[in-house]
């Protein structure tokens, strides 16, 4: 028995946003203001940076197979981990879900024809490309070896790498983030279709609203910080250089004031994705909708109050440390609320084992480990031991890769039919999800132990007693890589050879599923009027589920 409904003999819609032509082919993509096309522009560019970051990660793990580190020189190794961090954080993780899925889906989900500012949306992408260009220029002309955290005075005075173009690139890229956030906030306030009240909105939209708050409030601060650091480097000023009267700790405060909330920019959208997948594949409303919505806002707000937990061993005042540790525990609570609510949603559900559900459950498993290990780091007495060790590296990879990236890949699998009109091979994709889960754990779990044993991070060489765990980690990484290569392959394959999906293959309850797959350029021919609650499978006869109507005979198995 198949888990999803299939309707026989489907065809792609005649006219949709992909084949709509206005002007010549390339121009209609590069000058588009259609949020869906812009989402695909982002999809291509973030994938490029993901690939670059991934290659760098591969080299790091291969180099760390031996204590002596035989692959590259120390200088090169330091550039590898720096560039890996910069590429992945600023050019993949931060844009990924918002710029691809937020852009594509938010207007569809709220019943609008586009975002509030379509031209600014396109500008956002160009700003991203220009910023990325500066950073790639930095990577290829001397590289970057300051660590993605750019601590001064190492970055502003002592480093001999291409710091200035990198800092310019990240500065410029920040505006892409700011404009995206601005666009989302206005759109969500003013462009909701009639009947789409705040508490009827999908939780994905709530998640992006919270994310956008962080984007607009936090990003300007990193912009000015990097600007000051860059000016210091170029003109030998002394904001952060103690030799000239400056304070390196000021840099850290300014830097982390953004960079901590930034991690919530990376995880909140992924949580929004999970909040869509779970009710869809359990076919029931999500448990605790208003608590999940509220927890997103709580995370965004409290997330601004914890930054100095990155600085517990800088010699900051004990009072400050106590305050930030306390608040760091408080910020964990809303995330826990989400996990409990997602789990409770499964209770008495009608659970399908479709690929998006596997990814979503994988997300929960890995995010739980990542989030719980944050409790170790927030603990002052423990942090003095595990700060700046592989424990931290493991923790943030669990959240960002195990969480955010898995959420991203899960989103790809959930909305791929809507974006492309095609389905992908089901068995292969579930296999890939499991590979990803196993490979990921094998790669990063040993690193918790490495960290507690005392192996510091950013080390190109290490004492021999740490080798076994490093080898385990690298072995896991090779499996993890397979877990990424598989979807890249079969999703690409499916664009041409995948089965046609139809408007609502799963089916799901969101407004986006009421459009064609792929949708028209203007999304809706007629502006919808919303009269139903979110995830309400019971009162949606249009979905063709459990309404007493006879089942259509499945045409063929879908594998």
């Amino acid at each position: 028995m198949s888990d999803t409904l299939t309707t026989p003999a489907l065809e792609l819609p005649h006219k949709h946003y992909l084949n709509a032509t206005y002007g010549s082919g390339l121009r209609s993509w590069l000058l588009t203001t259609d949020h869906k096309r812009i989402a695909l522009l982002y999809l291509c560019s973030v994938t490029v940076f993901f690939f670059i970051g991934g290659v760098l990660a591969t080299m790091i793990r291969i180099h760390l197979l031996t204590p002596g580190g035989a692959l590259v020189t120390p200088e090169t190794y330091n550039k590898l981990f720096t560039m890996h961090g910069v590429a992945m954080i600023f050019f993949f993780l931060i844009p990924s879900i918002p710029a691809v899925f937020g852009n594509f889906l938010i207007p569809l989900m709220i019943g609008a024809k586009d975002l509030a500012f379509p031209k600014i949306n396109l500008l956002s992408w160009y700003i991203y490309i220009i910023g990325g260009g500066f950073v790639l220029y930095s990577f290829s002309t001397g590289g970057l070896d300051t660590g993605w955290t750019f601590y001064t005075p190492l970055s502003s005075v002592y480093s001999n790498s291409a710091v200035t173009p990198a800092v310019i690139g990240i500065f410029i890229n920040g505006f892409s983030s700011i404009l995206t956030g601005l666009n989302f906030i206005v759109t969500i306030h003013t462009m909701r279709a009639p009947g789409m009240t705040w508490f009827r909105m999908p939780l994905f939209v709530w998640a992006h609203y919270a994310t956008s708050l962080v984007m607009i409030l936090g990003t300007p601060v990193i912009a000015i910080t990097l600007l000051l650091a860059g000016l210091e480097r170029m003109f030998h000023l002394g904001f952060f250089n103690p030799a000239l009267g400056g304070d390196p700790i000021l840099f850290q405060h300014l830097f982390w004031f953004y960079s901590h909330p930034a991690v919530y920019i990376m995880i909140l959208p992924a949580m929004g994705v999970i909040s869509e997948i779970i009710p869809t594949f359990a076919r029931k409303p999500i448990f605790g909708y208003s608590f999940i919505a509220g927890s997103s806002i709580a995370i965004a707000v409290i997330g601004f109050l914890v930054w100095a937990h990155h600085m517990f061993v800088t010699g900051e005042s004990t009072y400050a440390a106590l305050t930030f540790s306390f608040l760091s525990y408080v910020v964990a609570i809303p995330s826990a609320v989400k996990v409990f609510n997602w789990t409770s949603t499964l209770y008495k559900g009608s659970i399908s084992w479709d690929p998006p559900m596997i990814y979503a459950l994988g997300f929960i498993g890995l995010f739980v480990i990542g989030g719980l290990t944050g409790l170790f780091l927030a603990c002052l007495g423990l942090d003095i031991h595990i700060h700046d060790t592989y424990f931290v590296v493991a923790h943030f990879h669990y959240i960002m890769v195990g969480g955010a990236v898995m959420g991203y890949v899960g989103a790809l699998h959930f909305w791929w039919p809507k974006i492309t009109g095609r389905l992908y091979p089901r068995a292969l994709s579930r296999f890939a999800a499991i590979i990803l889960f196993i490979g990921f754990n094998l790669t990063f779990f040993p690193q918790f132990i490495l960290g507690y044993l005392g192996m510091p991070r950013r080390y190109h060489t290490y004492p021999p007693e740490f080798q076994v765990l490093n080898v385990l980690s690298t072995a896991g990484a090779s499996i993890l890589a397979l877990g990424y290569l598989l979807p890249m392959s079969y999703l690409t394959w499916s664009m041409r050879y995948g089965k046609v999906a139809g408007p609502n293959p799963w089916p799901a309850t969101g407004l986006e599923w009421k459009t064609d797959s792929p949708p028209l350029t203007e999304n809706f021919e007629v502006t919808p009027e919303v009269t139903w609650e979110p995830y309400d499978f019971k009162n949606r006869p249009d979905l063709g589920l459990a309404t007493g109507a006879p089942l259509p005979a499945p045409a063929h198995g879908d594998d």
């Binding site: 076919r283 010699g315 044993l453």
Partner: protein, 327 residues
Amino acid sequence: MQSQLPIYPEQASNFAPHVDALMLFITGICVFFAAGVTVAIVFFFFKYHRKSPDAIGVPTEEDPRLEALWMIVPLILSMAMFGWGAVVYVDYRNTPRDTLDVYVIGKQWMWKAQQPNGLKEINELHVPVGRNVRLILASEDVIHDFFVPAFRVKMDVVPGHYNTMWFRPTKPGRYHFFCSQYCGTNHAVMGGWVTVMEPVDYAAWLSGTSGGQADPVVAGEKLFAEKACITCHLGAGLGRAPSLNGVYGANILLADGSTVVADEAYIRESLLQPNAKIVAGYQPLMPTFQGQLTEEQILALTAYIKSLQSQPVPVKGAGIAPPTEKR
């Protein structure tokens, strides 16, 4: 290097057992919740597997009491984790009085340590077991960090700041220390060994390999004259600058009415930014020695000024706040 369980290093300091116990406590809580959630998910995943293609789930009403429960219980547990961690941390940040002080300087890419008698070490640190040891950390260039996994302690070494850390070694042996704040090319090789010795052996080592190393107090006294400090900071208190007798560790009364404790940081600031804090009753006359003193010279002068603690304090002319002053 590894103990019976190869998941944590040897416990070689007073902090180590506390940190490990804390770790086990938090691990226990986390395993409980992780297991709970995992079991629930796996159980539901199989129990509620879709029975027929068009089956839907049974909606469940929002339950504010359940939500409150799973907000409050984690919050209480969080406060326990926070509280215990805070206790350990406050203990770590409050250096006890009777410490053996070692000055440690980090620079790209090596560590220099200076024992109380002036004996210098490079990438090595010898300390006696059972004594409270305080490290006074300074950097000559970028931010470093002094980390001893077996002691479970670390502290950043920040240019322009003094940071201190303390520990009490509890087990003789040799333990790795690492630099754990990325500091450039050879960050990964900027480490060494802490050797914890029985007090008798430590004393022997200290004097045995002494061989002509300058006592920092003597070096400081020489500098005090060479740099002409002595012309203003007359011991009897009749000079243009306050006497430094008994000053170290005392409360100093400043021109703006506030008081400050004369610790290492204060002495350092007085040398480099002399007019940041003017002692009450004195003019801002002192020139700065920024750029004229190396870190080691600053440490030597500090050691010398410390040694003046026992000298007679003049009735007038030391700038020390009267003891009745309530601060």
